[in-house]
Amino acid sequence: MATDLSITELSGELRDAINKLEVSGDLETVGIVTRVGDGVAWVHGLRSAGYSEVLLIEGTQGEQVEAFALNLNEDEIGAVLLGSDEAVAAGAKVTLKGTVLDVPVGPELLGRVVDPLGNALDGGPAIKTKQRGLVEREAIGVIGRKHVHEPMMTGIMSIDAMFPIGRGQRELIIGDRQTGKTAIAIDTMINQGRQKTGVINVYVAIGQKLSKIARLVERLKEEGVMEQTIIVATGPADPASLLYLAPYAATAMGEYFRDNGQHALMIYDDLTKHAVAYRQMSLLLRRPPGREAFPGDVFYLHSRLLERSAKLTDELGAGSLTALPIIETQAGDISAYVPTNVISITDGQIFLETDLFNQGIRPAISAGLSVSRVGGDAQTKSVKSVGSHLKLGLSQYRELASFAQFGSDLDEATKNQIEKGQRLTELLKQHQYQPASVWEQVASIYAVSEGAFDKVSVAKIKEAQTALLTRLWTDHKKDMQELTKGDEKISGESKYAKLILKTAQSVAKGFED
């Protein structure tokens, strides 16, 4: 009797019906490989294949090679292989997996090095997670987003003071080779561990030398940050399809934390190589080349990826996904195709200059060309109060300094400005792996900008800064711990301002000429 049926019986009957159908209709749709080469297979048949659907190709030894469909033509499918093309021969049987690409996601991945398909690369046990996440997933909509308002401290003074980054922001790190792009990203990851922010780091190496990744893993372990880090690694020898998938797969892993009310930081190192891998795939798939031989959808390639970074509303758990994509330029040309694309997608950029790097100004951040479009709201009150004039002062100094090279007859005001600029520049130099906490940043910048170190020679600024920080920490540890919370505005009459200034003046005496 239909009325007697309970829901459990219904589901049981449905299952029976499905089983019956599966047994009786065992005919599966198959296609055949017509051509294969350069990591691309052309398949005949499989009319029901969907875009980005996973295909299973029977290898020469009976093994299965996965591929995903990217070109759906009337007569054939162009699919990109996820494994070696040597195992695939023309005439091989192809079936549909019935799913699009997904990867394991969840806290089980923390501390692991994986490939873009979620296979362990660190020699550890196979990764088993409760959940899987879609590699290609639509970005969250307008209603689900909130404005960026919490700080993502990098620990790099010049960034936190001048170009603050907020949780949920996309901030591009751009510069020529060997200018310290990755170093900034790594310091930011380390800072999350040092400051115990609880932010999960996801580092994506796209076609990076494996030795470099190994070094990075070692360093992160040394710093104790590896437990809150996932590394998605692809090397130069991996097929272009894996390089292409790496940032999307890693974003799926980061999104898990975003959607569970946590905060994650994505580092894409680097998107230039990603665009090149996609160009290779596109050209092999016979898609028409455009500017610099990139396909027409290279903008969409990066915009859909970076749009997945977001700050979620409280209703959705208030999690966030911050992105630090890296782009490598050629001879400082930021007007090339991929750099301009990514600059326009992101919420600002940190521009690194070779000249500054070679002058010993490291991190070699250009004050004039760098910008953060949304981070201002996210900056902590204390850093904001001391850093507000820093950018302007530094840009003016750089301009004056180049102008002053032509003559030595300068008026007193200009001379002062140049000297202050030199001190600030010196102050903002920072060694790698030494991210600064909020109180260290506030105290250092406030001391120099208020003139406490005006009588200290430029060469001794760093020493004086170290002495100041040591003194403050030993004598006023409680106050500094309070200051690190960042809620206090630091200006003339505030308790901390007076404390810093007084200590700085007494420290400066020991460094005067």
């Binding site: 009786s24 005919l27 599966e28 749709t29 198959v30 017509t34 005949h44 029977e58 009976g62 009337e74």
Partner: protein, 127 residues
């Protein structure tokens, strides 16, 4: 003139075949003219799919030791029902490497119930 897709050629050929016209010479001439003779096997495959859509099924049966009449009837019945076919034709092949069982290839679909396939399946699931 734009290149005619294989699917269109196959549809035309299948229509003519079902209507009982033999246009094989015309197709051959067209392929030579268009220098597309290397697509021959794909067009044949596509035509088999087009024929199946029109109720005429040509099935490739691969076994290790040949088919018994009984199983042939069973397969014919199975294909008639599952493919909704009016006519079923067989092309039989022997391949000792399948070890046992039967493999049916029909118009872009396949039923692989051979021992070889099962073994492969077992091998990959073990990994």
């Amino acid at each position: 003139m734009a290149k005619l897709s294989r699917r269109k050629i196959a549809a035309l050929w299948a229509d003519e075949l079902v209507a009982g016209h033999d246009i094989i010479a015309k197709i051959a001439a067209y392929l030579i003219e268009e220098r597309r003779t290397d697509e021959m096997s794909l067009i044949v495959r596509e035509t088999e799919i087009a024929l199946a859509e029109r109720g005429v099924v040509v099935a490739d049966i691969t076994t290790a030791n040949g088919l018994s009449d009984e199983s042939r009837t069973a397969i014919e019945k199975f294909l008639t029902v599952s493919m909704n076919a009016r006519r079923v034709a067989f092309r039989e092949a022997h391949d000792p490497s399948v070890i046992g069982g039967v493999k049916i290839d029909v118009a872009g679909q396949q039923l692989d119930a051979t021992l070889k396939a099962r073994l492969n399946q077992l091998k990959s699931s073990k990994i």
